[in-house]
Amino acid sequence: MHRGGGGASATASFYKKVMKTYTISKLARAFELSRSTLLYYDRIELLPASGRTASGYRTYTATDYRRLERICTFRQAGLALEDIRILLSSRGSSCAQVIEKRFREAGQQILDLRNKQRLLSGMLKKLASDDSTPTVDKKMWIEMLQAAGVADRSMSCWHREFERRAPDAHHEFLASLGISEEEIRQIRGWSRKGKAARDQD
Protein backbone atom coordinates (compact mmCIF):
# COMPACT_ATOMS: atom_id res chain seq x y z
CA MET A 1 0.00 0.00 0.00
CA HIS A 2 1.18 3.44 -0.82
CA ARG A 3 1.08 5.47 2.32
CA GLY A 4 2.58 8.66 3.60
CA GLY A 5 4.38 10.99 1.24
CA GLY A 6 2.96 14.27 0.15
CA GLY A 7 0.34 14.83 2.89
CA ALA A 8 -2.92 13.07 3.73
CA SER A 9 -5.18 14.81 1.24
CA ALA A 10 -2.79 14.19 -1.62
CA THR A 11 -2.72 10.49 -0.69
CA ALA A 12 -6.49 10.32 -0.62
CA SER A 13 -6.84 11.88 -4.04
CA PHE A 14 -4.11 9.60 -5.35
CA TYR A 15 -6.09 6.55 -4.22
CA LYS A 16 -9.24 7.94 -5.70
CA LYS A 17 -7.55 8.13 -9.06
CA VAL A 18 -5.78 4.80 -8.94
CA MET A 19 -8.50 2.55 -7.56
CA LYS A 20 -12.15 2.79 -6.90
CA THR A 21 -12.94 3.17 -3.23
CA TYR A 22 -16.25 3.23 -1.44
CA THR A 23 -17.46 5.16 1.52
CA ILE A 24 -19.37 3.12 4.08
CA SER A 25 -22.67 4.65 2.94
CA LYS A 26 -21.99 3.90 -0.69
CA LEU A 27 -21.08 0.30 0.05
CA ALA A 28 -24.12 -0.12 2.29
CA ARG A 29 -26.38 1.17 -0.45
CA ALA A 30 -24.81 -1.11 -3.06
CA PHE A 31 -25.77 -4.16 -0.98
CA GLU A 32 -28.93 -2.77 0.58
CA LEU A 33 -27.44 -3.04 4.03
CA SER A 34 -27.46 -0.47 6.80
CA ARG A 35 -24.38 1.48 7.77
CA SER A 36 -24.58 -0.01 11.24
CA THR A 37 -24.35 -3.52 9.75
CA LEU A 38 -21.10 -2.58 8.04
CA LEU A 39 -19.81 -0.92 11.22
CA TYR A 40 -20.59 -4.17 13.02
CA TYR A 41 -18.82 -6.26 10.36
CA ASP A 42 -15.86 -3.93 10.77
CA ARG A 43 -15.88 -4.26 14.53
CA ILE A 44 -15.97 -8.06 14.52
CA GLU A 45 -13.37 -7.99 11.73
CA LEU A 46 -15.52 -9.88 9.32
CA LEU A 47 -15.10 -7.01 6.90
CA PRO A 48 -12.56 -4.51 8.20
CA ALA A 49 -12.43 -1.29 6.22
CA SER A 50 -9.18 -1.24 4.26
CA GLY A 51 -8.44 2.39 4.84
CA ARG A 52 -9.40 5.69 6.31
CA THR A 53 -9.65 9.12 4.81
CA ALA A 54 -7.67 12.00 6.22
CA SER A 55 -10.63 12.88 8.38
CA GLY A 56 -10.95 9.32 9.66
CA TYR A 57 -13.83 7.95 7.56
CA ARG A 58 -13.67 4.31 6.60
CA THR A 59 -12.93 3.54 2.98
CA TYR A 60 -13.48 0.23 1.25
CA THR A 61 -11.67 -1.09 -1.79
CA ALA A 62 -12.80 -3.25 -4.68
CA THR A 63 -11.39 -6.24 -2.78
CA ASP A 64 -13.58 -5.36 0.22
CA TYR A 65 -16.49 -5.07 -2.19
CA ARG A 66 -15.93 -8.61 -3.47
CA ARG A 67 -15.51 -9.93 0.07
CA LEU A 68 -18.82 -8.38 1.05
CA GLU A 69 -20.37 -9.96 -2.02
CA ARG A 70 -19.31 -13.38 -0.74
CA ILE A 71 -20.48 -12.55 2.78
CA CYS A 72 -23.92 -11.67 1.46
CA THR A 73 -24.12 -14.88 -0.56
CA PHE A 74 -23.26 -16.94 2.51
CA ARG A 75 -25.78 -14.99 4.60
CA GLN A 76 -28.46 -15.77 2.03
CA ALA A 77 -27.55 -19.43 2.36
CA GLY A 78 -28.26 -19.03 6.07
CA LEU A 79 -24.72 -19.26 7.40
CA ALA A 80 -23.87 -17.66 10.73
CA LEU A 81 -21.41 -14.77 10.74
CA GLU A 82 -18.93 -16.81 12.74
CA ASP A 83 -19.09 -19.60 10.14
CA ILE A 84 -18.64 -17.10 7.35
CA ARG A 85 -15.50 -15.81 8.98
CA ILE A 86 -14.12 -19.34 9.10
CA LEU A 87 -15.08 -19.89 5.48
CA LEU A 88 -13.42 -16.71 4.29
CA SER A 89 -10.24 -17.30 6.23
CA SER A 90 -9.73 -20.97 5.54
CA ARG A 91 -9.40 -23.34 2.69
CA GLY A 92 -10.17 -27.01 2.40
CA SER A 93 -11.62 -29.20 5.12
CA SER A 94 -12.96 -26.73 7.70
CA CYS A 95 -14.61 -24.88 4.86
CA ALA A 96 -16.36 -28.05 3.71
CA GLN A 97 -17.44 -28.83 7.28
CA VAL A 98 -19.16 -25.50 7.69
CA ILE A 99 -21.04 -25.91 4.44
CA GLU A 100 -21.98 -29.52 5.18
CA LYS A 101 -23.36 -28.52 8.56
CA ARG A 102 -25.50 -25.87 6.93
CA PHE A 103 -26.55 -28.33 4.23
CA ARG A 104 -27.86 -30.73 6.89
CA GLU A 105 -29.67 -27.92 8.69
CA ALA A 106 -31.35 -26.86 5.44
CA GLY A 107 -32.45 -30.47 4.91
CA GLN A 108 -34.02 -30.52 8.35
CA GLN A 109 -35.82 -27.26 7.63
CA ILE A 110 -37.22 -28.74 4.42
CA LEU A 111 -38.58 -31.68 6.40
CA ASP A 112 -40.11 -29.33 8.99
CA LEU A 113 -41.75 -27.30 6.25
CA ARG A 114 -43.09 -30.43 4.55
CA ASN A 115 -44.65 -31.45 7.85
CA LYS A 116 -46.17 -28.03 8.25
CA GLN A 117 -47.53 -28.21 4.71
CA ARG A 118 -49.10 -31.61 5.38
CA LEU A 119 -50.80 -30.27 8.49
CA LEU A 120 -52.12 -27.25 6.61
CA SER A 121 -53.43 -29.35 3.75
CA GLY A 122 -55.23 -31.54 6.29
CA MET A 123 -56.86 -28.45 7.77
CA LEU A 124 -57.88 -27.29 4.30
CA LYS A 125 -59.46 -30.64 3.49
CA LYS A 126 -61.39 -30.59 6.72
CA LEU A 127 -62.68 -27.09 5.98
CA ALA A 128 -63.72 -28.15 2.49
CA SER A 129 -65.69 -31.14 3.78
CA ASP A 130 -67.43 -28.97 6.39
CA ASP A 131 -68.33 -26.69 3.52
CA SER A 132 -70.27 -29.38 1.72
CA THR A 133 -73.15 -29.08 4.16
CA PRO A 134 -75.32 -26.54 2.41
CA THR A 135 -75.53 -23.01 3.79
CA VAL A 136 -78.98 -22.80 2.25
CA ASP A 137 -81.22 -25.86 2.27
CA LYS A 138 -84.45 -26.72 0.52
CA LYS A 139 -86.67 -25.28 3.23
CA MET A 140 -84.86 -21.94 3.34
CA TRP A 141 -84.98 -21.69 -0.44
CA ILE A 142 -88.71 -22.36 -0.62
CA GLU A 143 -89.39 -19.90 2.17
CA MET A 144 -87.51 -17.21 0.34
CA LEU A 145 -89.32 -17.87 -2.94
CA GLN A 146 -92.62 -17.73 -1.12
CA ALA A 147 -91.68 -14.52 0.63
CA ALA A 148 -90.72 -13.02 -2.72
CA GLY A 149 -94.21 -13.82 -3.94
CA VAL A 150 -93.75 -17.02 -5.93
CA ALA A 151 -96.78 -19.34 -5.81
CA ASP A 152 -96.25 -23.05 -5.09
CA ARG A 153 -97.67 -23.81 -8.51
CA SER A 154 -94.97 -21.65 -10.12
CA MET A 155 -92.28 -23.60 -8.35
CA SER A 156 -93.15 -26.79 -10.19
CA CYS A 157 -93.16 -24.77 -13.38
CA TRP A 158 -89.68 -23.60 -12.47
CA HIS A 159 -88.47 -27.18 -12.02
CA ARG A 160 -89.79 -28.08 -15.47
CA GLU A 161 -88.06 -25.09 -17.05
CA PHE A 162 -84.86 -25.89 -15.22
CA GLU A 163 -85.01 -29.55 -16.29
CA ARG A 164 -85.71 -28.62 -19.90
CA ARG A 165 -83.00 -25.98 -20.21
CA ALA A 166 -80.18 -27.40 -18.10
CA PRO A 167 -80.85 -30.88 -16.66
CA ASP A 168 -77.33 -31.30 -15.22
CA ALA A 169 -77.38 -27.92 -13.52
CA HIS A 170 -80.85 -28.77 -12.20
CA HIS A 171 -79.47 -31.89 -10.55
CA GLU A 172 -76.43 -30.06 -9.24
CA PHE A 173 -78.51 -27.25 -7.82
CA LEU A 174 -80.89 -29.57 -5.98
CA ALA A 175 -77.94 -31.52 -4.58
CA SER A 176 -76.41 -28.24 -3.35
CA LEU A 177 -79.57 -27.67 -1.28
CA GLY A 178 -78.85 -30.96 0.46
CA ILE A 179 -81.73 -32.82 -1.21
CA SER A 180 -81.24 -36.60 -1.34
CA GLU A 181 -80.50 -38.42 -4.61
CA GLU A 182 -83.80 -40.27 -4.27
CA GLU A 183 -85.87 -37.09 -4.00
CA ILE A 184 -83.87 -35.42 -6.78
CA ARG A 185 -84.75 -38.36 -9.04
CA GLN A 186 -88.42 -37.91 -8.20
CA ILE A 187 -88.41 -34.16 -8.78
CA ARG A 188 -86.59 -34.51 -12.08
CA GLY A 189 -88.86 -37.35 -13.06
CA TRP A 190 -92.07 -35.34 -12.85
CA SER A 191 -90.28 -32.27 -14.21
CA ARG A 192 -89.54 -34.22 -17.39
CA LYS A 193 -93.10 -35.45 -17.79
CA GLY A 194 -93.90 -31.80 -18.10
CA LYS A 195 -97.05 -29.98 -18.90
CA ALA A 196 -99.22 -32.98 -19.60
CA ALA A 197 -98.82 -34.53 -16.17
CA ARG A 198 -98.72 -31.45 -13.98
CA ASP A 199 -100.75 -28.32 -13.71
CA GLN A 200 -101.08 -26.14 -16.75
CA ASP A 201 -99.92 -22.57 -16.01
Binding site: P134, T135, V136, M140, M144, L145, A147, A148, G149, V150, A151, S154, M155, C157, W158, E161, F162, R165, A166, D168, A169, E172, F173, S176
Partner: protein, 61 residues
Amino acid sequence: MQSSVSVKEWIDMFQEIGLDEAKRKQFHKLFESRHPEGHQGFLEWLGMPAKDIERVRSGSK
Protein backbone atom coordinates in the same frame (compact mmCIF):
# COMPACT_ATOMS: atom_id res chain seq x y z
CA MET B 1 -68.03 -25.43 -8.45
CA GLN B 2 -69.71 -23.55 -11.23
CA SER B 3 -73.15 -24.00 -12.67
CA SER B 4 -73.84 -24.78 -16.29
CA VAL B 5 -76.72 -22.32 -16.30
CA SER B 6 -75.86 -18.72 -16.94
CA VAL B 7 -77.11 -15.79 -14.93
CA LYS B 8 -79.25 -14.84 -17.92
CA GLU B 9 -80.88 -18.24 -18.11
CA TRP B 10 -81.59 -18.13 -14.41
CA ILE B 11 -83.26 -14.74 -14.76
CA ASP B 12 -85.28 -16.06 -17.72
CA MET B 13 -86.52 -18.95 -15.59
CA PHE B 14 -87.45 -16.64 -12.74
CA GLN B 15 -89.19 -14.41 -15.23
CA GLU B 16 -91.30 -17.36 -16.42
CA ILE B 17 -92.54 -18.13 -12.94
CA GLY B 18 -93.58 -14.56 -12.41
CA LEU B 19 -90.53 -13.15 -10.63
CA ASP B 20 -90.25 -9.80 -12.34
CA GLU B 21 -87.47 -7.34 -11.70
CA ALA B 22 -89.08 -5.86 -8.58
CA LYS B 23 -89.66 -9.31 -7.10
CA ARG B 24 -86.14 -10.38 -8.02
CA LYS B 25 -84.79 -7.40 -6.10
CA GLN B 26 -86.94 -8.40 -3.17
CA PHE B 27 -85.62 -11.94 -3.45
CA HIS B 28 -81.99 -10.73 -3.31
CA LYS B 29 -82.82 -8.59 -0.28
CA LEU B 30 -84.34 -11.59 1.47
CA PHE B 31 -81.42 -13.78 0.53
CA GLU B 32 -78.91 -11.21 1.74
CA SER B 33 -80.63 -10.57 5.05
CA ARG B 34 -81.52 -14.19 5.86
CA HIS B 35 -78.53 -16.10 4.48
CA PRO B 36 -75.69 -13.76 3.47
CA GLU B 37 -73.24 -16.67 2.99
CA GLY B 38 -75.76 -18.63 0.99
CA HIS B 39 -76.35 -15.61 -1.21
CA GLN B 40 -72.64 -15.39 -1.94
CA GLY B 41 -72.44 -19.14 -2.60
CA PHE B 42 -75.42 -19.11 -4.90
CA LEU B 43 -74.14 -16.22 -7.03
CA GLU B 44 -70.72 -17.90 -7.22
CA TRP B 45 -72.44 -21.10 -8.30
CA LEU B 46 -74.12 -19.20 -11.11
CA GLY B 47 -70.66 -18.15 -12.25
CA MET B 48 -71.19 -14.48 -11.62
CA PRO B 49 -67.90 -12.51 -11.59
CA ALA B 50 -66.77 -11.42 -8.10
CA LYS B 51 -67.10 -7.77 -9.01
CA ASP B 52 -70.77 -8.22 -9.95
CA ILE B 53 -71.48 -10.32 -6.85
CA GLU B 54 -70.23 -7.50 -4.69
CA ARG B 55 -72.45 -5.03 -6.53
CA VAL B 56 -75.56 -7.24 -6.25
CA ARG B 57 -74.97 -7.98 -2.57
CA SER B 58 -74.27 -4.40 -1.53
CA GLY B 59 -77.34 -3.33 -3.51
CA SER B 60 -79.41 -5.84 -1.54
CA LYS B 61 -78.54 -4.48 1.89
